[in-house]
């Protein structure tokens, strides 16, 4: 390249950059995609979600069908019981797929509940500030100090066990941390120079929230959502494990593990559900970590 062409080329690059800027999100996506553990986890999780959605439809055995003549059969190719059958002669693969479906559904719904409550609560507290903020965050502090999972148990004892109640109750516990994170971020962002600049340029409060505060909240919120999912799944499993969550014949991973640990002499009833649970949690944790590193590189 000659000396004369260099500046022109540089200008072209600059124009290109101006047209299609490399935003923070592009950077983050690239960092996330270069994280092998996170990418592998996303693929595995995708497969798991797919299995949970269409697996029960395609599988030859129904999850509640009892083969009276095939109780406690170990993993075998015969009759296609790949992971064996349980004490009632139900196919383990079918049960695990159903359990995975319920566990993931609880995770998704309860996380959405916590997301909606947490972001609204935190953003209002942070943006309004002053006494409102004080009052709202004190409330969070008080609730935070309470043994909420035990209140959920008390609730199931008092109002009976319904899966819908569990969705709601778990979501209603987990919004607290979300609210704190969102409030902290909102407080920090609303004092930033670019918000001041926007205000000086005549942008109204609504414009500031939607154009400047919410996009900047997205990063930490996304990270926390991926970290909430495994927590929520664990809580449902905890409830199901102690016998208060999902009821028979419906099942969840926690429930299956609970059934399996009672039959330690036939350990395949424990292995399948436990492995599925651990795989799911690993994937979610790796994705969460990867997302955090990608969105907030200084925190490595």
């Amino acid at each position: 390249m000659t000396l004369a062409s260099a500046p022109i080329e540089r200008q072209q690059t600059l124009e290109l950059a101006a047209r299609k800027g490399r935003s923070l999100w592009d950077d983050s996506r690239r960092r996330l995609l270069s994280n092998k553990a996170a990418v592998a986890s996303m693929i595995v999780l995708g497969v798991l979600v797919l299995i949970a959605l269409i697996g029960p439809i395609l599988w030859p055995h129904g999850y509640e069908h009892q083969y009276r003549d095939r109780l406690r059969i170990g993993p075998t190719l015969e009759n296609f019981h790949l992971l064996g059958t349980d004490i009632y002669g139900r196919d383990m693969v079918a049960r695990i797929m159903m359990g995975l479906r319920i566990s993931l559904a609880v995770g998704a719904i309860a996380t959405t509940v916590s997301l909606v409550i947490g972001v609204t609560w935190g953003a209002v507290a942070g943006f309004v500030g002053g006494r409102t903020d004080q009052l709202m965050m004190r409330t969070v502090d008080v609730i935070y100090a309470m043994p909420f999972i035990f209140f959920v148990i008390l609730m199931t004892v008092v109002f009976g066990r319904s899966i819908f109640l569990i969705f709601l109750a778990i979501g209603a516990i987990e919004w607290l941390t979300m609210a704190r994170i969102v409030r902290g971020q909102t407080l920090a962002i609303k004092e930033k120079e670019f918000v001041e600049a926007a205000r000086a340029a005549g942008v109204g409060p609504w414009g500031i929230i939607t154009r400047h505060i919410l996009p900047n909240l997205l990063g930490p919120v996304a990270v926390y959502v991926t970290l909430t999912l495994p927590i929520v799944i664990l809580q449902e499993s905890f409830l199901s494990f102690i016998g208060l969550g999902v009821q028979e014949p419906l099942t969840s991973l926690g429930r299956l593990i609970s059934d399996g640990q009672r039959e330690l002499s036939d350990p395949w009833m424990l292995f399948g559900p436990a492995a599925t649970m651990v795989l799911t949690l690993f994937c979610l944790n790796f994705i969460g970590d990867g997302l955090r590193d990608a969105l907030d590189p200084k925190d490595r």
Partner: protein, 340 residues
């Protein structure tokens, strides 16, 4: 509490005395007494809220919580209600219950007619306290130790293996590790008891696996906290100064870095106790231990309202207490924080 009387001046006073008095007095003066008092005062309403929610939730239960399956004559039922104090107005019942709870009386068990809830909880406490206290202790020592090693050997094989172990400890829940440890070390290898416990003979053989199961996730979390905080501390200015002065590396580590780096672990004490309590419910079920958690599940499944309620109140009290201790420890240990 008499020394907390001059609240407005307590923040100014220590500075004046600090130059002339001994180290012990200086430490005492540095304790933010007003903050501690305020912290204790906020713990009480939280406890009240827990008891209140528990009480009214139980009363919101469909039907009479004390009703039995049998049909009773109105006369018998009236007697029963009077006996249990259910004929009084709700607010009177509430204050009566509150008064009883303060005195440690959690009322009669509904399904276990000859025992009170306090007795049922009391029977389980020795087991639960033993496994709880041991696992917290192990978690603190092992977690802090692993974290420090990982931090000073950052990015070495030791660091990576410790942190992979921590990742496993965090990702695998207690109700998976418990049955697995029980299966491998109890059923297959036969090194320890796979489960069960004779209350009179609590021994290593019976309690090792439950304690290990309970401690593992806490070890994982604490070691991660400690590693991150230690790495940050070792990079700070005061450590660089200490190195420049020519202090030995061990002295820097134990006198300068570790005490500062341990603060996040102290503030994790509250959540840790929540984790151990929740974990103990699972562990006691997996290993068949007759603890408070097992009795709690039992009560929840048989819908023994009063027992579940009493245990929730006990757990709530423990959690609040440990949060309080953690906050006070933090305030005493960290001279940088001013609690105004």
């Amino acid at each position: 509490m008499s020394n907390t009387a001059p609240i407005p001046t307590s923040s100014a006073a220590p500075d004046k005395q600090e130059r002339s008095s001994s180290a012990l007095v200086r430490t005492f003066n540095r304790i933010p007494k007003a903050y501690i008092l305020r912290r204790i005062l906020t713990a009480i309403p939280t406890m009240l809220v827990i008891i209140t929610i528990a009480f009214f939730m139980m009363r919101a239960a469909p039907g009479n919580p004390y009703s039995t399956d049998r049909k009773l004559t109105p006369e018998v039922e009236a007697n029963l209600r009077a006996n249990l104090g259910l004929d009084k107005p709700l607010h009177e019942q509430y204050f009566e219950y509150l008064g009883n709870v303060v005195q440690g009386d959690l009322g009669p068990s509904m399904k276990n007619k000859d025992k009170t809830v306090s007795e049922l909880i009391g029977e389980g406490l020795p087991v639960s306290l033993t496994i709880g206290a041991w696992s917290i202790t192990i978690a603190l020592f092992a977690g802090v130790g692993l974290g420090v090693i990982a931090a000073i050997r950052q990015n070495s094989a030791a660091d990576y293996s410790a942190m992979s172990l921590a990742m496993i400890g965090i990702s695998i829940p207690t109700f998976v590790t418990g049955p697995f440890l029980s299966l491998v070390f109890g059923v297959w290898l036969g090194w320890f008891a796979a489960g069960g416990l004779d209350l009179g003979r609590m021994n290593f053989n019976n309690l090792f696996l439950p304690i290990l199961t309970l401690a593992l996730p806490q070890v994982a979390i604490i070691s991660r906290l400690m590693r991150a905080s230690m790495i940050e501390t070792l990079r700070s200015n005061n450590i660089r100064t200490a190195r420049a002065k020519g202090l030995s590396e061990t002295r820097i580590l134990f006198r300068h870095a570790a005490p500062a780096a341990i603060l996040p672990v102290v503030s994790y004490l509250g959540p840790a106790i929540v984790g151990v309590i929740t974990g103990s419910v699972v562990v006691e079920r997996v290993f068949g231990l007759p603890g408070v958690g097992a009795s709690f599940i039992d009560g929840a499944i048989t819908r023994d309202y009063t027992r579940v309620m009493g245990t929730v109140i006990l757990y709530g009290g423990l959690i609040i207490l440990f949060n309080l201790i953690a906050d006070i420890l933090y305030a005493v240990l960290d001279p940088r924080v001013r609690y105004e």
